[in-house]
């Protein structure tokens, strides 16, 4: 499989009155054609900023992509003009957000909002676009498509709106769909429907999905490849089965252990002590060291780099330094 998207040493910084926040700090990964890559992490770890950086939606003057490259289909998205980027956005790469209500225009009908990218990118006539919009609404499993096309966003429920967002996102047949916590605001039964639709539309078009979530259950269900982020850094990445069966980084292990799982009875949940570090007070240490039960002297003074282990598994932790050398 070829790499569709390659992110190399991406850093995105925010300049605030109190100092520079390195929201995304030198991360690299790639997404292959037809692959679903999940980015997991807690609030503030930089997973959404990674997505925004790929879409070039980081707003100046405070936010700035400080370095690295984002190669998509042979072009570096950070080097192309604004005009070229506009032609890619919503066309070759599209995005779904957590809050569908705030991403749709409340005074424009659903149908028109689905038609907009079709007319803009695919140069369809109004009539063609309308027909396609109705088709798309049916495709995401909403009955009475014609009627819905003429409805306004407030007339639909959250689950339906999120499906409309998916319809808009896949309307132009994108090669990459970025979904930022698409089911977080939804009930479990609706979440199951939405994940099903994402899976189906991926199968139909060999689209790649970059799914951002904090729910490890969703990750296990959807991902081919998983990236774990903490405080702006990638701490671990690997194939989904490998990562869930042999998690390496103490943070990943902690996350997996602290989630209550149906059918698994435990007296007490494991909990990672402390909390995420203040992004303004990061030092040269491993960012996780003050919450880590395996913390060693080296962890407090030097930051570990991602090292390769077996089965393509990569982890940034001093515990695996020796093991990493063997796998070179």
């Amino acid at each position: 499989m070829n790499a569709l998207l390659e992110v190399n040493h991406l850093s995105t910084h925010f300049h605030t009155g109190a100092g520079i926040i390195k929201a995304v700090d030198d991360i690299s990964f790639r997404i292959r054609e037809g692959e679903t890559v999940c980015i997991v992490g807690e609030s503030g770890c930089g997973k959404s900023i990674t997505a925004m950086s790929i879409m070039r939606l980081i707003e100046g003057p405070y936010g700035k992509i400080a370095g690295g490259e984002i190669v998509f289909g042979g072009r570096d998205l950070l080097k192309i003009s604004k005009e070229e980027m506009r032609r890619i956005r919503g066309n070759e790469i599209s995005m779904i957000f957590q809050e569908p209500m705030s991403s749709l225009n409340p005074v424009i009908t659903i149908g028109k909002q689905i038609m907009e990218p079709l007319m803009l990118h695919k140069k369809m006539s109004r009539k063609q676009a309308y027909a396609r919009a109705v088709e798309l609404i049916e495709m995401v499993g909403i009955p009475r498509a014609e009627q819905i096309a003429n409805a306004y966003p407030h007339e639909l429920s959250g689950g339906m709106l999120q499906r409309i967002m998916i319809a808009i996102a896949i309307s132009c047949g994108p090669k990459l769909l970025i979904a930022d916590e698409p089911t977080t605001a939804l009930d479990v039964t609706i979440q199951a429907q939405v994940l099903e639709i994402l899976r189906k539309s991926k199968e139909q078009s060999n689209m790649s999905i970059m799914l951002i979530t904090h729910d490890l259950g969703v990750v296990a269900e959807m991902a081919d490849y998983v990236i774990v982020m903490y405080a702006g850094k990638i701490v671990e990445k690997g194939e989904v089965v490998e990562l869930f069966e042999r998690p390496k980084h103490p943070y990943t292990r902690g996350l997996l252990k602290s989630k209550p799982v149906i059918g698994q009875r435990r007296d007490e949940l494991y909990s990672i002590p402390g909390q995420v570090p203040n992004p303004l007070e990061l030092t040269e240490s491993c960012y996780f060291h003050d919450r880590c039960e395996h913390c060693m002297a080296v962890c407090e003074t030097r930051q570990p780099k991602l090292t390769k282990l077996e089965n393509g598994h990569q982890v940034a932790c001093w515990l695996y330094e020796e093991e990493g050398r063997q796998h070179g």
Binding site: Q191, H214, A220, V240, P260, I262, L269, I272
Partner: protein, 321 residues
């Protein structure tokens, strides 16, 4: 199990829908429609359901934050909704409420220590010079440090704010706490800390909880008995093991199968429900769930199923179960 701590009998809460210039009532949203359950001392009773199922309204109506439409709520045998206001106020410290988003329930201009101690002073439960010590004690029990006393709410992270919310409820030394989605807004690692805190406090202080949540895995972990709500009605109620190992209602089964499990490549039989939860202003006739139920038969559309005992303290409202 002894005397019940809380008895909810045929509780109803309807919100009027008004329209027109004169605000004429044109209908009702039946947010809670004839719900009964009992909570015994030391128990954690879980109330689960999707958004709009009325679970929060149940919690608020129990504490008389809403006036009921029908039925009654007995706390230690005292009917809460029949008490005159001054009497009710005296009872309030014994029943506390913890909200999903503690930030919006804390005054941004009041220091955290004062916010936690406020109710103690208001209810005259502690002398002025005692208040500080009492506050520091509950703060410590909730995992907050003494130097947090003089800080403002905005200086805290989500998990710590929830600790403040819990400390605030706990300061009054209550017997019964209603926790409404207390961990839903928190990250996984912080969520585990707060869940453990709930459990620890229950063991050390003998608390009884009504735990409202949409997250079945959290409910399974924390609760001893669980009620499943849908559109204002109780669909199923059972002790934890009964409910999770032998769910009887198709809605419970669907809910359980919809929860993603963190085991990759696990093939599960999933019951994917069609459509959305119907509007509570115009609920379906017969069984309220029949529009989304994969097993619905003709009877379900016409006749409302009775909430009946199915053995082992397991109650269910379904014609087929």
């Amino acid at each position: 199990m002894g005397e019940p701590l809380l008895e909810v009998r045929h509780l109803k809460k309807y919100f009027p829908i008004t329209a027109g210039l004169l605000n004429k009532t044109v209908g009702y949203v039946k947010a809670v429609d004839d719900i009964s359950f009992t909570i015994y001392p030391g128990e954690t009773f879980g109330l689960v359901g999707e958004s709009g199922s009325g679970k929060s309204t149940v919690g608020r109506t129990i504490l008389r934050l809403h006036e009921k439409t029908g039925g009654e709520v007995l706390f230690k045998g005292i009917s809460i909704h029949d008490l005159p206001k001054p009497e009710l106020r005296k009872l309030r410290p014994k029943m506390q409420y913890i909200f999903q988003d503690p930030y919006s329930s804390l005054n941004p201009r009041i220091r955290v220590g004062d916010a936690i101690g406020e109710a103690l002073v208001d209810h005259g439960l502690a002398a002025k010079e005692e208040v500080r010590d009492r506050v520091l004690e509950v703060m410590e029990a909730c995992g907050l440090s003494a130097y947090h006393y003089h800080r403002f709410p905005h200086e805290f992270s989500g998990g710590q704010r929830q600790r403040i919310g819990i400390a605030r409820a706990l300061a009054l030394n209550p017997d019964f706490i209603i926790a409404d989605e207390p961990v839903s807004a928190l990250d996984v690692s912080i969520q585990a800390q707060i869940i453990n805190l709930f459990r620890k406090l229950q063991q050390t202080r003998g608390l009884t909880y009504l735990f409202i949540s949409h997250d079945l895995s959290v409910v399974e972990h924390l609760c001893t008995r669980i009620g499943v709500m849908y559109l204002g009605s109780m669909m199923e109620m059972a002790p934890r093991d009964e409910l999770f190992l032998r769910p009887l209602h198709p809605y419970t089964k669907a809910l359980l199968s919809a929860v993603p499990v963190p085991v990759p490549k696990l093939k599960r039989e999933r019951i994917v429900l069609e459509g959305d939860i119907p509007s509570p202003a115009n609920p379906p006739a017969g069984c309220k769930f029949h529009t989304r139920c994969p097993f619905a038969v003709a009877k379900c559309k016409e006749q409302k199923p009775e909430f009946r005992h199915a053995g082992n303290d397991h109650y269910v409202a379904c014609h087929l179960a």
